[in-house]
Amino acid sequence: MSAKTANRVATAVIVLVAAFIVLLLAGLLGYIIFRGLGHISLDFLTSAPETIKAGGGIGPQLFNSLFLLVLTLIITIPLGLGAGIYMSQYAKPGRLTDSIRLVVEVLSSFPSIVVGLFGLLVIVNLFGFGFSLFSGALALTVFNLPLMVRITEQALAGVPREQKEASLALGLSRWKTITSVMMPISMPAIVTGTILASGRVFGEAAALLFTAGMSSPRLDFTDWNPLSPFSPLNPFRPAETLAVHIWKVNSEGLAPDAAEIAAGASAVLVIMVLLFNFTARWFGRVLYRKFTATK
């Protein structure tokens, strides 16, 4: 076989594999969405699940997933930004920084089930938060934090050196330089990264089985006092998220339409993740345009 034919064959193989991957995703998404789409309606998205009767919805679960995401971000963003800034701006090269970087790497690759068990042992039982949104948010923080640190670090590293030095030359303090010069410039990258990471949080189930619990108390959507036990906003109530609900319906569902509910909920979950992806892209572009004044 001459070099030219080899080249052609190899190229064809690679293109075929790439096409296969695209088809695989299209097939996966198509399968999930089309199986579930027939079941999705406004009623399905807003009503509460039924135990044995058909026609239950996923309203509370959808709300729980979103609320849990917000709680997680409230905890993660300040911590992640701070740690990321430290890693990229304050850390001196050396053994200590090296080991901190190792910690971040290890933390980001912890199996989610181990984090869930840790949450059960420490957050739920030892600290006494019980099965609650707050416990779930803390467990998710463990995954999300290293991602956030990496995103911040990379975003700050992308800031042109001249801009940083100009700011310092003008006599601003280092912290001021970071917060008012470098952060705005790196904002698009940070926002995009955060939204993408959120998608992953949205789909997490293994860790939440042991921390946020597998059932939802009756929710009173007219009660917005976060301290009332029936309020949807109370962070110390147990909450079943959408991903956990799929798991539960699939494994223990008694309702006659359990399979359809699982399919519908999976489709909703995937659509939400798709939305996160598109928002991240769009938002990143908008912010980029805004901060760099390009048309």
Partner: protein, 310 residues
């Protein structure tokens, strides 16, 4: 970045004029705040390791199981008489599924990366990149659900056996780790100095020759990094695997026979056992093995990265 930090220490504008009080306060706020965040990270990891280890080690201390028996024993009968804690089938299951998954996903991921960087950079970036990111975004429960309703029946129809088993687990995992491998491979290929490639083209090599002889060998450590990271993700995945692997505590005789992984046995039994019982402690020991494996994977990645820099 780091050089800046070194230079900053004491010999830049600070020498010209005494920094104002506000300056000093601001610096303090920055330093203390970011250091606290880092501290939180470190405390978290120490807490995780400490608590998992304290539970996991009590199998050996309190229940008198020897470490050797746990790691090499073939029989897992924690509720039996006498109770036996041989976790080798799970360790074998975890390694074989993640290795197989990596074997399937690595060539696919590398091809995708080559497509995106060497063959059609424009279209690749525009269409492939989002596809890969979407694959990464699909929740693992959904993967398990699809695996159970599509892959298992498919395997059952094509091959002898129940469909459920090692092969089904590896297939589901390979799709799950494909994005990890592809993303890292793409980054590595894109970072290759273009002079290297152009030199090869200028010598009259075809594109495939260039890829095969120049591009792949130079980026090999980085590609391996991606594969190891993918394996580490596969190793820790729980729900999707548990749904399709069958969960028999035995080393399978074929690819299509039910077996278990470390994660699947933990998800299956953790809720059913009493905290502090021998069975429960043994499950924590399995979690400890998972934890130790995470460290090992990270160290392998570090080693490869160091090779890569050299």
């Amino acid at each position: 970045m780091d050089q800046w930090a070194v230079k900053q220490d004491g010999n830049k504008p600070n020498l010209i004029r005494k920094p104002s009080k506000q300056h000093i306060r601001e610096e303090w706020v920055g330093r203390v705040y970011t250091a606290l965040c880092i501290l939180f990270l470190i405390v978290t990891i120490i807490a995780i390791v400490y608590f998992v280890a304290s539970r996991g080690l009590s199998t050996f201390i309190k229940n008198g199981v020897s470490i050797g028996d746990l790691l090499t024993g073939l029989k897992w009968a924690p509720e039996g008489e006498p109770a036996l804690f041989g976790a080798l089938p799970f360790i074998f299951g975890s390694f074989s599924t993640s290795l197989l998954a990596a074997l399937i996903a690595a060539p696919l991921g590398c091809c995708a990366a080559i497509f995106m960087t060497q063959i059609m950079p424009g279209a690749g970036r525009r269409y492939m990149q989002p596809v890969i990111e979407l694959l990464a975004g699909i929740p693992s429960v959904v993967y398990g659900f699809v695996g159970l309703s599509v892959i298992v029946p498919m395997l059952r129809n094509i091959f002898p056996g129940q469909g459920i088993g090692l092969a089904a687990g590896a297939l589901v995992l390979s799709v799950m780790i494909l994005p990890t491998i592809t993303t890292i491979a793409t980054d590595a290929l894109a970072a290759l100095p273009s002079g290297l490639k152009e030199g090869s083209f200028a010598l009259g090599a075809t594109r495939w020759q260039t890829i095969y002889r120049i591009v792949l060998p130079t980026t090999l450590p980085a590609l391996l990094t991606g594969v190891v990271l993918g394996m580490s993700r596969a190793f820790g995945e729980a729900l999707a695997v548990q749904m399709v692997i069958g969960n028999a505590p035995h080393i399978p005789r074929s690819l299509f026979e039910s077996t278990s992984t470390l994660t699947s046995v933990i998800t299956l039994s953790m809720g059913n056992t009493i905290t502090g019982s021998a069975h429960n402690n043994a499950l924590w020991s399995l979690a400890l093995i998972l934890l130790a494996m995470t460290f090992i994977f990270v160290f392998i990645v570090r080693f490869l990265e160091r090779r890569n820099k050299r």
